[in-house]
């Protein structure tokens, strides 16, 4: 059971820092959907904290819109619920991979509570939003207070998560927002497998984005990011390089997918994950390219990695 001396709901970022600085051991909470199940028998057991500091209502952590200073970028408050991935009109139009990710993320109800910032800060190796956001070249902004002034730093998501449950966030830093590419012209796909459809920890998950050049035969831009098959989510740079500028054919997609087979570094079910991963890459690319306007037939295959 999770218990605490105080539960604070600060109205401003300054009040949130007051709480964090004044109460050593205080913990930031947003949606609480990971925190409460964690403090139960079989996981952390009974946990007592000095305070929970609920940042989900802070104005600085709200809102989704086009970034005013960076053209072609979307700005999203860290307390944005995952449900917005699916329902926010701007994201539906400019970041469709997020909606495709969201339908696989926990369930309808948890998506109303769970926040994008929480999913990144918790840095579970199976955090489903991570591959989609990596593929969108997401940067995260962290706020801290020094000598009474609130300062920010911004870093790429690819550097932010450094291991299972480990990030570059310092204990007195609050993730305030994300910035990601607006990609209205890309086809998008998200793949996930677990023991069931809803409410399941990913065994393999993956996001793919693709855009065609004006001839509509060559791949102008492609982005693939994978999750749940290693300690941290990653972009498949080599696969992306292999495909960028190339004509998209079934054979080339097959060859590209096979490049990823050594990426599986999880502790269990490696053979299964290799098989699924390469198939997911191929299927996701086919789907993303179809949305971008190019239908490709997959080359038939037998199981290869089990």
């Amino acid at each position: 059971m999770l218990t605490f001396d105080q539960y604070l709901t600060p109205a401003t970022l300054a009040q949130a820092f007051d709480a964090l600085e004044g109460l050593p051991g205080a913990r930031i909470v947003a949606g609480a959907t990971d925190l409460l199940p964690w403090a139960r028998d079989g996981r952390a057991g009974d946990v007592h904290l000095s305070a929970l500091v609920d940042v989900s209502k802070l104005p600085e952590l709200q809102g989704v819109g086009l970034a005013d200073v960076a053209p072609g970028r979307i700005r999203m408050g860290a307390a944005t619920p995952i449900a917005a991935f699916q329902h926010h009109p701007l994201l539906q139009q400019q970041a469709p991979v997020l909606g495709r990710c969201a339908v696989w993320f926990a369930d309808d109800q948890i998506r109303e509570q769970a926040t994008v910032g929480g999913n990144l800060v918790n840095a579970s190796p199976a955090g489903d939003s991570q591959p989609a956001l990596l593929a969108m070249n997401t940067h995260v902004t962290l706020a801290r207070r020094e000598k009474g002034r609130i300062l920010e730093r911004t870093l790429p998501l690819s550097e932010f998560i450094v291991g299972p449950g480990q990030t570059l966030r310092q204990p007195l830093e609050i993730m305030t927002r994300l910035e990601l590419d607006a990609l209205p012209g890309h086809g998008a796909a998200f793949e996930k497998v677990g023991h069931r459809r809803s409410l399941v920890i990913s065994t393999v998950c993956l996001a793919a984005l693709a855009r065609l050049d004006p001839t509509r035969r060559r791949i102008e831009d492609v982005r693939i990011a994978i999750g749940a098959v290693g300690p941290v989510p990653e972009r498949l740079d080599d696969v992306e390089d292999f495909l960028t500028g190339q004509a998209a054919t079934g054979a080339r997609l097959r060859e590209a997918a096979e490049l990823a087979v050594e990426r599986v570094r999880s502790r269990s079910r490696q053979a299964y994950r290799r098989e699924v991963l390469v198939n997911f890459i191929e299927r996701a690319l086919v789907a993303a390219l179809a949305q971008a306007g190019l239908e490709i037939q997959r080359v038939p295959k037998e199981s290869g990695h089990v």
Partner: protein, 647 residues
């Protein structure tokens, strides 16, 4: 997640800081002061006594606690109560706004979409949310909307039927009369509504955890962390001194003959001198609040002398193994034997002998309602226990002996059972409850957490089955030998009955002249095994049917043809020499084969390079649920007509 900072400690007296919460719940403004660690589910159930929504898992997995907060459906077990400050909450209790039942609830009633009913409040809420969002939701969207809700009695089809019926009635495409009970002169062949369904679809029916009495105490249990240990000393003095603690119970408080069990009464209500599995009850506390009871449990000091444990039934039977119970030589709890004909001779004469070993796993019932009970002493001195017991009469007899009182001073009341599947046949907590009520003269309630239910309750018996079968070339089985060893765990529970049934039904509905079955249930220091759906027959029949497929492959036969040759027919004699009059096994298999569109042939035809089966994935095969029914169409992609086929 990071580790908590040390030096910060929960209140040792179990008295947590309070927080004042104001919200609008079911249209009524409420302001209440509650412990600050309460979640929304605690606020609604424990403080407001709105018990329609249940707690099934406490971890956001099951959805029976789903309720609306400011119009959005959330898991109330994942919602700190502070998040509803100033918000509007809707629970299932008043979903109908005092209008009887909503159309959805009436549709659930009509379609029989409630069995145990424990998941149904959440299902109704999730369905309500789905149809509020999109009154025209299709089946895939409904499935997605209900994706966060688990039913354990397997009623999904009826639930989906009900949501679609409600949708159609609400949008006028089906008349409201579609919600009425089907007219019919006979119950047979007609859909008949369940009598208890209205109470279940509205959340009005009370399960044990929903019961509340004035002056009620709360029980919590200290459980063994060791699989096998001697209890050297129990020091409960600190717990007894804690304000708010009304009693601390150990085996020393049991007045009568302290043993229970379905077949062999070998288990004390709390460990007596020795613990035999992780999770065994050792001591119990009844206190004014659950928090105080939990705090008191932590103050009980137990000194254990850890003993070597037995975790494998084969090892447990070996000479020299630690003996776990005085009455069970070689740790054998039950050995059931069937001997018919001369198996050795038949195997020697067989055209084909096939041997294989099969293993099944222990599994948890995971009924959606964790164990719970309420006990009190009535004015005439009779102790009453409400619990979702699957065996109240037997429990009553055992409890009378344990409490050392006449049977007319013990009353067992079966509360609505939120799923049992055999797992609630064992009286693993009612004894502690009754004793606490007698000691304190106050009502006492005990509600398991999901984790506690997993750790303390029986599992399905895991089996290792060594199978030898002799057959003629035409497929006729001439001999069956099954040697089955099963891990019964620390106490007998239903092991003797499970061994009997696994043996009697194991060789299957086949006419076999020579049969040898050993079913051996063994004591170990694992979680006890007990009754679970099919009571042992599943494990042994799984082996038999898997083995017949293997034999069909060896014989080059169609697996159905092999079974047709061997199925019992009218006048057959069973393995235990019961004469059967009429046997419909052949008719049954024929009907199944016809319904499945069975493509006859050897089972391994693709491996032989032959054409693959034609009966897979055809009509009648349900398509997998693909998520994304509500995704907006791609905004930027060109219209489909403009796509260019690739070379």
């Amino acid at each position: 997640m990071s580790e908590p900072v040390s030096g910060c400690q929960a209140p040792v007296d179990g008295r947590h800081p309070m927080t004042e919460i104001s919200a609008t719940v079911n249209g009524r403004k409420v302001t209440r002061s509650v412990p600050n660690h309460y979640r929304l589910i605690d606020f609604v159930r424990e403080e407001l006594k709105l018990t329609g929504n249940k707690e099934g898992c406490g971890a956001g997995e099951c959805g029976t606690c789903s309720m609306f907060v400011d119009g959005k459906l959330v898991k109330s077990c994942l919602t700190p109560v502070q998040k509803i400050q100033g918000a509007t909450v809707e629970t299932v209790d008043d979903l109908d706004r005092d209008q009887g039942m909503t159309v959805l609830q009436r549709a659930f009633h009509k379609c029989g979409a409630s069995q145990c009913g424990y998941c149904i409040p959440g299902m109704v809420m999730a369905a309500t949310s789905t149809l509020r969002r999109n009154p025209a939701a299709g089946l895939d969207e409904i499935k997605e909307g209900l994706g966060g809700n688990i039913c354990r009695c397997t009623g999904y089809q009826k639930i989906l039927d009900a949501v679609q019926l409600a949708r159609d009635v609400l949008n006028g495409s089906r008349p409201e009369s579609a919600l009425d009970e089907d007219a019919g002169t006979s119950f047979i062949g007609h859909s008949t509504r369940r009598l208890d369904a209205p109470g279940k679809v509205t959340g009005a029916i009370k399960y044990a955890a929903d019961l509340w009495m004035a002056n009620m105490l709360h029980l919590q249990v200290l459980r063994s962390p060791h699989p096998h240990a001697r209890i050297v000393r129990i020091d409960a003095s600190k717990a007894r001194r804690l304000p708010g603690v009304e009693c601390v119970l150990t085996c020393d408080d049991v007045p009568g003959v302290d043993n229970f069990g379905v077949f062999i009464e070998d288990q004390p209500i709390m460990a007596r001198g020795v613990v035999r599995y992780v999770g065994e009850a050792v001591a119990a506390v009844a206190a004014e609040t659950v928090d105080i009871a939990r705090a008191a449990v932590k103050l009980i000091e137990i000194h254990y002398e850890v003993l070597p444990g037995l975790f494998d039934p084969e090892e447990a039977m070996r000479p020299g193994a630690v003996q776990l119970h005085a009455h069970a030589a070689d740790n054998i709890c039950k050995h059931t034997r069937i001997r018919k004909g001369d198996v050795d001779a038949a195997l020697a004469a067989a055209d084909l002998v096939v041997e294989e070993t099969y293993r099944t796993a222990p599994i948890e019932h995971a009924y959606l309602e964790p164990e719970a009970g309420l006990a009190y002493v009535e004015a005439d001195g009779c102790v009453a226990v409400h619990s979702p017991s699957q065996n109240i009469t037997h429990h009553r007899h055992m409890l009378a002996k344990i409490l050392g009182r006449p049977i007319n001073k013990v009353r067992m009341i079966m509360s609505t059972v939120g799923g049992g599947f055999g797992g609630k046949e064992d009286m693993i907590y009612q004894g502690m409850l009754a004793l606490a009520a007698i000691k304190t003269r106050r009502p006492v309630r005990y509600v398991f957490t999901r984790e506690e239910s997993f750790i303390a309750s029986a599992k399905r018996h895991p089996f290792t089955i060594r199978y030898t079968m002799g057959l003629q070339r035409d497929g006729r089985i001439t001999a069956t030998r099954m040697v089955m060893v099963s891990d019964g765990g620390a106490y007998a529970m239903s092991t003797p009955g499970v061994m009997n049934k696994s043996a009697i039904l194991g060789p299957g509905p086949y006419a076999v002249p020579n049969v040898w079955v050993d079913a051996i249930g063994v004591y170990t220091n694992n979680t006890p095994s007990g009754a679970m759906r099919a009571f042992g027959a599943f494990q042994s029949e799984f082996a038999t049917e898997a083995h017949l497929d293997l034999c069909a492959q060896r014989l080059g036969m169609d697996p159905v043809a092999l079974r047709m040759v061997n199925l019992m027919r009218d006048g057959a004699t069973t393995h235990t020499r019961q004469q059967l009059d009429r046997v419909l096994a052949v008719d049954c298999l024929q009907a199944a084969v016809a319904a499945a569109g069975w493509d006859a042939g050897v089972p391994h035809r693709q491996g032989l390079g032959q054409a693959p089966r034609s009966d897979l994935g055809g009509t009648g095969t349900r398509a997998p649920c693909t998520l994304g029914a509500r995704l907006a169409p791609m905004a930027a992609a060109e219209p489909a007509a403009a796509t260019v086929p690739a070379k």
